[in-house]
């Protein structure tokens, strides 16, 4: 028996089972009638997931994914590359699995949205256009270059942000390898909201792990534009335990707010002070990727606002926006959040195209952070809409890993972090 035969048999059995058939089986049947074309822009966590789930839910739908690059470098686990635990190649993914799932993948840059004509314009010299019935945007972030005085794209070649993974990741890694023992590494962290709230502190941990092993006289300073951070207690407990004295954190009130950089002298200026690091990792303020501005979707704000039941834009309802580019109630800007939102959005779109009301949104987010290859911590939450139609965490659930847990517990979470990475990238890319 071939796979597809057994698949068909199982489906028929479930159909016969009638009342005991469950949501997914029914979704298969109903949304086979959903027709039309959906264009998805952004081949990352939100866009890849949404494309794949749209095709699975509604095989009759034409789904085109516009992905800027032929390969996607994940930010998740890029900190392990910077810390020398993994190779860059292990966080790079291609789009063949999506093609096998029936998604048309176009490698190009969307340069403008023409909301009036339901079209997007691509950069390709031909001036290509793609028309859509529904447009999904999961374009992620852009750096707010003007926010820190002196920090622009050219300076990022000297003082990398490494907050969009790829060449920047490699650059920061190379600078750390080239640094002499006894050097000073500065990481600057932005105010909320920004991509991956625990990310700067995971990065600090994994750089400390590298310094501790290879350059033990070095120091790491975190200059922060806020007075507290995600999983703070757990990070500090771990730093004390694994890298005592190596990491110093300076919060906003203690003068941690970075206002300017001077690359020629490798100077980082805060409100009151200046520092001369050997390696400067500037994680600047961010905003939704600029594409959204071409249709006024952010309304002059940094982030887009959407109907949190369907992810339809508040400005243009047949454009759905998800992932880091939006404000999503209580959900943090994470890859897991984008993946979760993409599934809810895919269900909403096929429902709308089939003339139905969308299902009741459900979301999960679990963000793992590694403090070393064997030491993991996490924060988790389960969400639904509250009475104001805002995504809210369910009271009494979720939260962070226990403090003062055993080594075995921390090791288990480090293993599950790697397991999560393998699973979610397979969920996205096949």
């Amino acid at each position: 028996m071939t796979t597809s035969e057994s698949f068909g048999t199982r489906r028929d059995l479930l159909k016969l089972a009638g009342a005991t058939a469950v949501a997914g089986a029914f979704a298969d049947r109903v949304f086979a009638d959903a027709r039309g074309s959906v264009v998805v822009v952004g081949g990352g966590f939100g866009g890849a997931t949404c494309s794949r789930y749209l095709r699975r839910l509604a095989p009759g739908l034409s789904v085109t994914l516009v992905a800027r690059n032929e390969r996607f470098v994940t930010c998740p686990f890029s900190n392990t590359v910077i810390g020398g635990i993994r190779e860059l190649g292990s966080v790079i993914h291609g789009y063949d699995g999506l093609r096998r799932a029936g998604v048309t993948v176009v490698h190009d840059e969307a340069v403008a949205i023409d909301a009036e004509n339901n079209e997007i314009r691509l950069s390709g010299g031909s001036g290509d256009r793609l028309s859509y019935d529904k447009l999904v945007l999961s374009p992620g972030i852009d750096i707010k270059w003007a926010a820190i005085d002196g920090y622009d794209e050219a300076v990022a070649q000297r003082m990398p942000h490494a907050w969009i993974a790829g060449p920047q990741t490699r650059l920061l890694r190379d600078q750390l390898v080239a640094m002499e023992d006894g050097g000073l590494v500065v990481i600057t962290a932005p105010a909320n909201p920004f991509r991956c709230p625990p990310g700067p502190y995971e990065r600090a941990s994994l750089i400390a792990n590298y310094l501790h092993q290879h350059k033990p006289r070095s120091k790491l300073l975190i200059l922060d534009s806020k007075d507290g951070f995600s999983k703070q207690g757990l990070f500090r407990e771990g730093w004390e335990r694994l890298y005592p004295g190596l990491i110093e954190w300076v919060g906003f009130s203690e003068g941690g707010n970075v206002v300017a950089v001077e690359p020629d002298t490798m100077t980082v200026r805060t409100d009151f002070d200046k520092f001369r690091p050997d390696v400067a990792n500037i994680i600047p303020p961010q905003r939704s990727a600029k594409l959204v501005d071409t249709a006024g979707l952010a309304e002059g704000d940094d982030w887009c606002s959407v109907n949190q039941r369907t992810f339809a834009s508040r400005v243009v309802p047949n454009i759905h926006i998800l992932g880091d580019a939006i404000l999503a109630g209580a959900m943090p800007k994470s890859g897991f959040s984008a993946n979760s939102q993409a599934k809810v959005c895919a269900h909403a779109i096929v429902s709308l195209l089939a003339g139905e009301d969308p299902p009741e949104p459900a979301f999960i987010n679990t963000c793992y952070s590694l403090l070393s290859a064997e030491y993991g911590i996490s924060v988790a939450a389960v969400y639904r809409l509250d009475d104001n139609e805002e995504i809210a965490s369910i009271p009494g659930s979720g939260g962070v890993s226990p403090s003062n847990a055993t080594d075995e517990f921390r090791q288990a979470e480090a293993e599950f972090a790697a397991g999560w990475y393998a699973s979610i990238t397979a969920d996205m890319f096949g």
Binding site: F7, V22, A25, F26, V30, P59, E413
Partner: protein, 115 residues
């Protein structure tokens, strides 16, 4: 019956006397089932080190989730997640996932072969 989306209809049929609120709950739980794949894989078998739950039957899955929720079974993160679930959420979730791993999280490749 309130219009709550076709994909939920079988659940409404199977519980027959759903109120609007209960319908929303079942709809929520049905969609929540989709979220498990991010860690456990689309068929309950993670390609990584997350525990394989693809072979569990509904009863054992229910027992695990209740055990996690009530702190009777040790967990790293599933205790925190299961605390979001009511008794009936757990029942529906276990049924949806186990009866339907293959279809609910099924391989798009196979669907294409079927067309």
């Amino acid at each position: 019956m309130p219009k709550t989306g076709n994909w939920l209809a079988p659940l409404l049929v199977s519980v027959a006397v759903s109120t609007e609120a209960a319908g929303a709950d079942e709809s929520w739980t049905g969609l929540l089932a989709e979220m498990c794949a991010a860690c456990h894989g689309q068929t309950g078998k993670s390609p990584g080190s997350v525990p394989d739950i693809s072979e569990l039957d509904a009863e054992s899955m229910q027992a695990f989730l209740i055990g996690f929720r009530d702190g009777d079974i040790e967990a790293t993160v599933m205790d925190r997640i299961a605390r979001a679930l009511s008794e009936s959420d757990i029942e529906v979730l276990s049924r949806v996932l186990t009866e339907n791993w293959q279809l609910l999280h099924g391989a798009p490749d196979e669907e294409n072969d079927n067309q």
